[in-house]
C-alpha cells in the first residue's frame, strides 16, 4: 500500500492563529476515553477552574554555591497541560526535576514548598519513591530499558513498586498502551525487544511506561527534541489527549509547541545576574502569548530575545 503522506497545512508554522489541536472540553474531565476534538480556547474564554494538582511556592534549586533557579511560584492545574518555556539554561528542566525529587541523588538542594494535593513533597517523612510513583516523567531522549521486551518495559514501573498480580500487570499495560496510542501497533509483539520500535514509537513506549503506574501528574522534559517532525506531531497530539487523564507539565524550548499544546504557560528567563533562572510570567497560554504582562515576556515571545 503506497503511502504518500502530505501533512495538512494547519500544523506548524503560524503562531498567531489558534491551531487545530483537539483539546478536551469540560465534559471529558471525568476520564471518559476518546474525547472528541473541541474548538480551541479563545482569548475571551477563561478556562474552567479545575483546581490545582501541584502547587509550587517560592521554589529554588541550587547545587553547591550555584543557584540554578530562584523563587518560582506557580501551579499545575488539574487535567490541563502547563508548558514551561524559555531559552536554554534558565532552569526549566531543573525545576521540573525538583517536582519528582530527582535532585536527591545528584546533590541538589531544593528550597520552598512543592505540594501534590495535600502531600508536601519535601517533608521530612515523605518517601521519595512514593512521590515518584505518583508523578511520572518522560525524558528528552527515549530511554526504554534495552534488555527488556515491550511488555516488560511497560510494566517495569509496576514491578518496581511491588505489584505482582498478573491481572493488574496485564490490564495496566494494555490500558497504558491504549493511552499512548501504541496498542494496535504492538499488541501482537508484546514480547519483542523494545529496540524494534522507531524513535517516536520508543518515546510513546516511555510514555506508556510512565502511565502504567497511574500517576496523577506527568512531567515531560522536551520529549520531542530528539524526534523527527512527524513523530513530534504525533506526540503533541498525544499530549493533548492525555490531559483528560493526567495533569501534564511540559518543558519545551519551542514556543510554537507551547502555543499548540498547552493551556497554561510559565515563562522562564535568566535573571539580571545572568546566572539564576526566574519565573517571569505565568498564565493562560493565549494571554501569555498575546497580551503578556511583563515586557521581558513580550520580548521573548516576539523573538527579540532568547
Amino acid at each position: 500500500m503506497t503511502q504518500d503522506t502530505v501533512t495538512s497545512e494547519t500544523q506548524t508554522e503560524q503562531p498567531d492563529m489558534p491551531t487545530a489541536v483537539p483539546t478536551p472540553d469540560g465534559a471529558a474531565l471525568d476520564g471518559a476515553a476518546g474525547s472528541s476534538p473541541a474548538r480551541p480556547p479563545r482569548l475571551s474564554d477563561p478556562l474552567p477552574d479545575t483546581g490545582n494538582a501541584v502547587t509550587l511556592q517560592g521554589v529554588g534549586v541550587s547545587f553547591g554555591d550555584h543557584q540554578v533557579v530562584r523563587d518560582v511560584s506557580f501551579n499545575l492545574a488539574r487535567n490541563r497541560v502547563t508548558a514551561l518555556v524559555g531559552p536554554s539554561g534558565c532552569g526549566k528542566t531543573t525545576l521540573l526535576r525538583a517536582i519528582n525529587r530527582l535532585h536527591d541523588d545528584a546533590g541538589g538542594t531544593v528550597s520552598g514548598s512543592i505540594r501534590i494535593g495535600d502531600l508536601d513533597v519535601y517533608a521530612k517523612d515523605t518517601q521519595p519513591e512514593l512521590v515518584r510513583s505518583r508523578v511520572g516523567m518522560v525524558f528528552q531522549r527515549p530511554n526504554p530499558f534495552p534488555n527488556m521486551s515491550i511488555f516488560e518495559n511497560v510494566v517495569s514501573g509496576l514491578r518496581f513498586n511491588g505489584v505482582r498480580s498478573k491481572t493488574i500487570l496485564r490490564e495496566a499495560a494494555e490500558s497504558a498502551l491504549h493511552h499512548a496510542a501504541l496498542w494496535e501497533l504492538v499488541k501482537d509483539r508484546l514480547h519483542s525487544p523494545a529496540g524494534v520500535l522507531s524513535g517516536g514509537q520508543q518515546q510513546r513506549l516511555c510514555i506508556a511506561r510512565a502511565l502504567a503506574v497511574e500517576p496523577e501528574v506527568l512531567l515531560m522534559d522536551e520529549p520531542c527534541s530528539a524526534l523527527d517532525p512527524i513523530a513530534t506531531a504525533k506526540i503533541e497530539e498525544l499530549i493533548a489527549r492525555l490531559a483528560a487523564d493526567v495533569t501534564v507539565c511540559l518543558v519545551t524550548h519551542n514556543m510554537f509547541q507551547a502555543r499548540r499544546v498547552s493551556h497554561y504557560t510559565a515563562v522562564f528567563l535568566l535573571g539580571d545576574d545572568r546566572r539564576t533562572g526566574q519565573l517571569i510570567e505565568y498564565g493562560q497560554t493565549d494571554h501569555v502569548f498575546e497580551v503578556p504582562m511583563d515586557l521581558r515576556t513580550k520580548a521573548y515571545v516576539t523573538g527579540q530575545m532568547g
Binding site: 500500500m1 503506497t2 503511502q3 504518500d4 503522506t5 502530505v6 501533512t7 495538512s8 494547519t10 500544523q11 487545530a20 489541536v21 476520564g31 471518559a32 476515553a33 476518546g34 518517601q127 519513591e129 512514593l130 510513583s133 505518583r134 509496576l158 513498586n161 511491588g162 505489584v163 505482582r164 498480580s165 493488574i168 490490564e171 495496566a172 494494555e174 490500558s175 491504549h178 493511552h179 496510542a181 496498542w183 494496535e184 503506574v213 497511574e214 512527524i230 506531531a233 504525533k234 503533541e236 497530539e237 498525544l238 489527549r241
Partner: protein
C-alpha cells in the same frame, strides 16, 4: 492533526496521524480499582524495598573490605618480616651456604638488573618499531601482529621459560643470563607493543597527515610527531613492562640461576625472584628470613616502578596538548 494518504485505488484519504485508540470498557471501568491497588502495593512494599537497599549497601561494602584484607595482610607481613632481615650487609654480601649467617643478595640484585636491563634493551626497541608498523599498516600482517600481541599477553610465563630453555640452554649446555634475558624479553614484548600502539594512536591523525602534507618523509613524521607526542605513553608502557618482568619467576626457573655474583651474560646469574623461591622453600629459618628480606626489596622496587609509571602517565594527562583528540582508527 491529519495527514493525506494515497490508497491503491488512487483515492486520497484524510487520516488521523494517531489512530483513535478506544479504551475497552473493562479497562476503563477498572481504572480506579487498579489505581488503588497500585498505590497500596507501593506503600506496602516500600519498607521491604528500602531495607533491601540498605542490606545491599552493607554487603557490597563488606565485599570491598574482604578485597582489601589480603592486600593489607600481604603488605603487612612482608614489611614486618622483611625489614628484620635488612641491614646494609644484606645488600653488599653474596649468599652464604645454608645455615651460615651473614648472607646477602648482592648477586641477586646485580643479576636482576642485568637480566631485566638486557631484556628491556631487546624488547623495547623491537616493540616500539612493531607498534610503528601497526600504526601505518592495515593488512593481514598487521592483524597477525596485533592478534599475536593480544594472545601472547595471556600466555603463562612458564611457557616462555621453557621456550628459552629449548632455544638457548640446551644448545649451550648450561644456564645463562642470556637465556633469562630472552625469556623476559619475550614476556615484555607484547606489553610494550600494546602500550606503545595505544599511546601512538592517541596522537591525532590530523597532525600526522599535516606533516605528511608538508612533504615530510614518513620516518621524519614518526620521529618528530608520533614518537614525541606519544613519548609519555611509551615511557609508561616500558616502565610497566619492566615492573612486570622484575617480578617474574617462572621464566627464570629453567634458564638462569646462581649463587655467585656474575655480570657476564653467558654465565648464569642470580635474580631476586629466584632467591625468594629458593630460600622460601627451604626449612631453615635463616633462609626464610632472607626470602622475606628479598621479597620486601622486590616489593619496594616494583612499587617504585609503578609509581614512576603513574607519575609519567599523570604528566601525560595533565600536559596533554591533544585537547580534541579525534584520532580515528
Amino acid at each position: 492533526m491529519t495527514t493525506l494518504r494515497t490508497t491503491d485505488t488512487g483515492d486520497v484519504v484524510v487520516e488521523e496521524l494517531l489512530p483513535a485508540e478506544v479504551l475497552p470498557e473493562h479497562l476503563a471501568s477498572g481504572a480506579a480499582a487498579r489505581r488503588a491497588a497500585i498505590r497500596q502495593a507501593a506503600g506496602r512494599t516500600l519498607g521491604r524495598r528500602r531495607t533491601a537497599t540498605r542490606a545491599s549497601h552493607v554487603l557490597c561494602a563488606l565485599s570491598v573490605g574482604i578485597c582489601l584484607v589480603p592486600l593489607v595482610a600481604l603488605l603487612a607481613y612482608t614489611t614486618a618480616r622483611g625489614i628484620h632481615a635488612i641491614n646494609l650487609g644484606f645488600f653488599v654480601h653474596d649468599p652464604t651456604p645454608p645455615g651460615i649467617p651473614g648472607g646477602g643478595i648482592r648477586n641477586a640484585i646485580a643479576g636482576s638488573v642485568l637480566i631485566v636491563g638486557l631484556g628491556a634493551l631487546m624488547a623495547i626497541p623491537i616493540g616500539i618499531v612493531a607498534a610503528l608498523f601497526l600504526l601505518e599498516r592495515r593488512g593481514r600482517v598487521a592483524t597477525i601482529v596485533r592478534f599475536g600481541a593480544d594472545v601472547l599477553t595471556g600466555v603463562p610465563s612458564i611457557a616462555m621459560g621453557i621456550f628459552a630453555y629449548a632455544l638457548l640452554v640446551e644448545p649451550l649446555g648450561h644456564f645463562s643470563a642470556l637465556a633469562g634475558c630472552f625469556a623476559l624479553a619475550v614476556l615484555m614484548l607484547p606489553i610494550v607493543i600494546r602500550a606503545s600502539e595505544s599511546a601512538m594512536a592517541s596522537v591525532p591523525v590530523d597532525l600526522r597527515e599535516a606533516a605528511l602534507a608538508l612533504g615530510a618523509r614518513r620516518s621524519r613524521v614518526a620521529r618528530s610527531v608520533v614518537l614525541r607526542g606519544a613519548m609519555a605513553g611509551l615511557v609508561t608502557g616500558s616502565l610497566l613492562a619492566i615492573a612486570r618482568a622484575v617480578g617474574e619467576t617462572a621464566p627464570l626457573l629453567f634458564t638462569t640461576s646462581s649463587d655467585l655474583f656474575n655480570l657476564s651474560p653467558l654465565q648464569p646469574t642470580g635474580s631476586l625472584p629466584l632467591t625468594i623461591y629458593a630460600n622460601g622453600t627451604q626449612a631453615f629459618p635463616e633462609a626464610q628470613q632472607i626470602a622475606w628480606g628479598t621479597a620486601f626489596t622486590l616489593l619496594v622496587l616494583v612499587l617504585l616502578l609503578s609509581i614512576a609509571a603513574r607519575i609519567v602517565a599523570g604528566r601525560l594527562a595533565r600536559g596533554s596538548r591533544w585537547d580534541n583528540s579525534r584520532s580515528k582508527r
